[in-house]
Symmetry: C2
C-alpha cells in the first residue's frame, strides 16, 4: 500500500485468532495485572514511523477492516467487519526495527508522544468503524487494545495465524 519511492509511514502485522488475552496493566504490589480478552478476532500489531501523519489513519483503518483475511464458517475469507469479528490492537514499536550487526535499531520509529497520539487515534477510528457497522454492532463485537508503551504480554490461540504484513 505504501507508495513506491518513499519510506512507509506505518507498518502493520495482522494475525487471526480464535481467542486472545492481552495484558493492559502489569501487576503492581498487591494489585493484580489487568487483561483484556477477545474471542475470534483480527489481531492488529501496529508501528508508526517518523513522519507519519494523521491523515494516513482513515485509509489504514479502512484497508485493515475491509481486507478479506478472516475465515468464515464456509471456509471463505471475508473482512473482519463481514465476519463479523472482534479486533485486538497491539502497539508494537519493535516492528520498526532494523538489523545492525547483532542488534536491532529503531531510528526510524516515530517519537513516543507522536506515536502515542497516532496510536490513540487509530484505536478510536477502529472503534468508530466497528460501531458504525450494523453487522458488528448487532453481534456485539468489540475493539480491545494494548496500553501504548507497556510490555504486550499476549496469549494467542489460533486456527492458523495467517500472518500478513501491510505497510502504509
Amino acid at each position: 500500500m505504501a507508495e513506491a519511492g518513499r519510506p512507509p509511514q506505518a507498518r502493520v502485522l495482522l494475525q487471526q485468532c480464535l481467542h486472545a488475552k492481552l495484558q493492559v496493566r502489569p501487576a503492581e504490589g498487591d494489585v493484580e495485572a489487568q487483561w483484556v480478552e477477545v474471542p475470534t478476532a483480527l489481531v492488529i500489531y501496529v508501528c508508526f514511523f517518523k513522519g507519519a501523519e494523521e491523515d494516513l489513519l482513515p485509509k489504514m483503518v479502512s484497508t485493515l477492516l475491509n481486507v478479506k483475511l478472516s475465515e468464515a464458517e464456509n471456509g471463505k475469507r471475508v473482512s473482519i467487519l463481514d465476519l463479523p469479528g472482534n479486533i485486538l490492537i497491539i502497539p508494537q514499536a519493535t516492528l520498526g526495527g532494523r538489523v545492525r550487526g547483532r542488534n536491532m535499531q529503531y531510528h526510524t520509529n516515530s517519537g513516543k508522544e507522536e506515536g502515542l497520539a497516532l496510536y490513540s487515534q487509530f484505536v478510536t477510528l477502529c472503534e468508530k468503524e466497528l460501531a458504525a457497522n450494523s453487522k458488528c454492532a448487532e453481534a456485539g463485537m468489540v475493539v480491545r487494545h494494548g496500553t501504548y508503551g507497556n510490555r504486550q504480554v499476549l496469549k494467542l490461540d489460533t486456527n492458523g495465524p495467517y500472518t500478513h504484513l501491510i505497510e502504509f
Copy 2:
C-alpha cells in the same frame, strides 16, 4: 538486511514465546492431530519469494540465530543461541501477500516445490547450527517446525511477542 534496490528474497517474522504448540498433522478420521511443543523459544515465521536462492540460507540462519532479541533472566536481550532457547519454525507463505483492493495477492511468492526445498534446507541449517552450539546442545534445546503447505494451527504464550521483521 535486503540489499537496497532489489526486491527481497525472503521475509521473516520473529516473535518470542514462553511456550508454543503447533499442529504438524491435522486429525484424519480416527487419528488425532499431531502437535509439536516448545517452552521458551524464538518463533521464526518464514516466507520465500520468487528468485530466492540456496546461498541465501546460511546468512539468514546466522543472522536470525545471532541477533539479540531473546530476553535473558537479567532482562538483557541476547541471541537465542546465547539464551539458550528453542526454535520453532513456521512456514508462512501469507507473509508474502500484497493488498490489491480488498484481497491479498501472492504473485511474488516462490513456487511450491522451490519454496519447500528452501524451507527444508532452512530447517536443516537451523538444526545444525543449534546442535553445533555447545550451550544449546548441553541445555537440550531443540528445533521444531511446521509442515510446509499445511495449516499452521498455533497456540502462543508470550511475555511480550516483541515482534520483529527482517527481510533478506
